[in-house]
Amino acid sequence: MNIQFRESQEAASPLTTKTAIADCDIHPARATRTELYPYLAKRWQHHLEVYGVHAYQGMMEGPPYPKAQPNASRRDAYPPEGGPQGSSLSFMQQQLLDPNNVQLGVLNPLNTGQGIRNHELSAALCSAVNDWQIDKWTSKDKRLKASIVVGNEDALAAAAEIRERAGDKNFVQVLLLSRNVEPLGQRRYWPIYQAAEEAGLPVGVHAFGFGGNPITPSGWPSYYIEEMVGHSQCQQSALASLVLEGVFERFPKLKMVMIEAGFGWAPSLAWRLDKVWQRLRSEVPHVKRPPSEYIREQVWWTTQPMEDPERREDLFDVIKWIGWDRLLFATDYPHWDYDEPSRVLPAGVSEANREAFYLGNAKKLYGIG
């Protein structure tokens, strides 16, 4: 986390001797409130000025669970030229990409057009964010790759956006959030998976989002920490839905990435799915194989925030059960719960596993040469 980072932070100069890594969860921010306007029709600029975004939660600005720090971001990540954390390419290069020798950085923009009740506005904002990612980020630094953000509640519009961007090498995945109007396996979202599979793009599911449902099965909890810890439960429910609705069976080439919700829960969830499926499979005949098989073949996980056992080697058991070939290193820059690359893996990991964890798995999944 960031306090540790400050202790360990060295001069922000390129350390080219460091092993190259991929960072599969970077959050680019807008420097100003109106930075997307050049990519939006006049109608939507006007709409935003008058009505705002009308999300599936009540706050016009900011989140209903106040973050631990401004913008949930590191206090040392404000760019010197001003603007919020993560809004400057040059400072991101200086603070993240160069010193850590990031060879592949996957951008996952948040606070875009997702989770907005006006689905036309949602589609317009997502398309604008996708244009903005190219102009401001990926065209200016070849290490960075973008995610196609889609307004998923209108899946046909989302699929159209994916098809429009398909083949554009600036984009390496489609991005969804975990909390939506319905669980992600539901049929209403299938056009997205179909388009992603056709385009050969993985679908990333990043923690967060608002879909109008209480964020626990017993209603709304009180605290930010409950929301944060709870992302792993939301992600589990989303993944269970994808398996049990038969999404992986129907789209066998689809690849899903679980982003920023931990991975320690994966073995237990897969075992539970398998065990219950043995009993209840007659209810879901479209799920033809044990659920763990679909998960093993079609799901990846980003690492941050890494679970943190008292005995760190305990985590190796879990990684072994998931597969060293399924984890994608991520820092979550510039957010406060950043995982420092040099500190996440203790000694005792083989060179091959270390390379796969930090870089190889990501390059393979995202098709980067």
């Binding site: 631990a68 992600l184 964020i215 099965p217 009180s222 269970a240 879901v284 008292e310």
Partner: protein
């Protein structure tokens, strides 16, 4: 296969209410009249459809009626063959699903009286849980105090998916009463269906609801710890029943990390979540979601770094295992003794 030992405590068995009409003798004139005049039907929860394979093991399923409605069957299937000294009855009946707190309270009272008369009175090995109308904290506390006079009630019982997260301060008088009266608080799988059964909305299938119970337990554990229930009530024991076990350690590694990161938000949580779980939270053994290989099981128990967390259960009549295979592979004789005898007795002060 680890061997069962005699004299254990089965911490999760489910006597079934045959029908809402079975409770009529335990309702007041007014409520009996309401039930009959308004044509109220049986309160069967979607969580356990009667014919679902998970609701009853095939060889425990009766020719007619609900699984678990016969004491003789329970004796024949569990109490005798597992040689238990005690079994804690957790009635899972849909009383939590109604929306009127008055109706809920009347049904809970009848259910508790029914349990005492039709089950606890008829087999000295049985102990009971007090089902409470959680929509009203006042009525819940009154019901706890009324039933607690009978020492055979050893626990207060709530569902894992209810109206609010269970750590919420409004519910604390329930925990105060439980701690004062030496009752554990049991939280059992199941939903009142007052909220969608997952944090991301309504799924399509029964299997999805059942898988989702584990995630519901995880969010409730966070709520109980973070709101400070165990700071206020350090002697309170909370038992997660039919929760699954194999998720515990990775869940705690995550909670612990965030607690270290943002503990300034909840400064009253003055001990690490790991320590709070070790002192105050227990888990029933079944279902144990893990592959049946011994090496994995040994690692899972080792990750817990405690031999005191798990309490023996069969989850009768639910179908979690076959034959007598209630214990996972690879447990040492010492751990079996802890799980079957020592841990339940340390958890339930009234369990004599």
């Amino acid at each position: 296969m680890a061997s069962l030992i005699a004299g254990g405590v089965d911490c999760d068995v489910h006597p079934a209410v045959p029908h809402l009409t079975s409770l009529l003798p335990y309702l007041s004139d007014y409520w009996r009249d309401q039930v009959t005049t308004r044509g109220m039907v049986d309160l069967v929860s979607q969580s356990y459809p009667q014919n679902s394979p998970i609701t009853a093991r095939p060889d425990w399923r009766p020719a007619s009626g609900k699984p678990g409605e016969s004491l003789e069957d329970m004796q024949r299937h569990v109490l005798d063959p597992f040689q238990v000294s005690r079994a804690i009855c957790n009635p899972i009946y849909g009383v939590q699903m109604v929306f009127s707190e008055d109706l809920q309270a009347a049904f809970c009272r009848a259910l508790n009286d029914w349990l005492a008369k039709e089950w606890l009175d008829r087999d000295p090995r049985l102990r009971g849980s007090i089902v409470i109308p959680t929509q009203s904290v006042e009525k819940s506390v009154a019901e706890i105090e009324r039933c607690a006079a009978d020492r055979r009630f050893v626990q207060v019982l709530m569902l894992v998916m209810g109206d609010t997260p269970l750590g919420k301060r409004t519910l604390w008088p329930i925990y105060e009463a439980a701690e004062r009266l030496e009752l554990a608080v049991g939280i059992h799988a199941g939903s009142a269906y007052h909220n969608p059964p997952t944090a991301v909305g309504w799924g399509s299938y029964h299997i999805e609801d059942y898988v989702g119970q584990a995630q519901a337990f995880q969010t409730q554990l966070t709520s109980l710890i973070i709101e400070g229930v165990f700071v206020r009530h350090p002697r309170l024991k909370t038992v997660l029943l039919e929760s699954g076990v194999s998720w515990i350690s990775p869940y705690l590694w995550r909670l612990h990390k965030f607690w270290r990161g943002v503990r300034m938000e909840t400064p009253w949580v003055d001990r690490a979540p790991l320590e709070i779980v070790r002192s105050n939270i227990r888990f029933s053994l079944q279902p144990f979601d893990a592959p049946p290989d011994e090496a994995t099981l040994i690692r899972l128990f080792d990750h817990m770094q405690s031999d005191e967390l798990v309490l023996f259960s069969t989850d009768y009549p639910h179908w979690q295992f076959d034959g007598q295979d209630a214990l996972p592979e690879g447990l040492t004789a010492d751990l079996v003794r802890k799980i079957m005898i020592d841990n339940p007795h340390a958890t339930y002060p009234r369990l004599t």
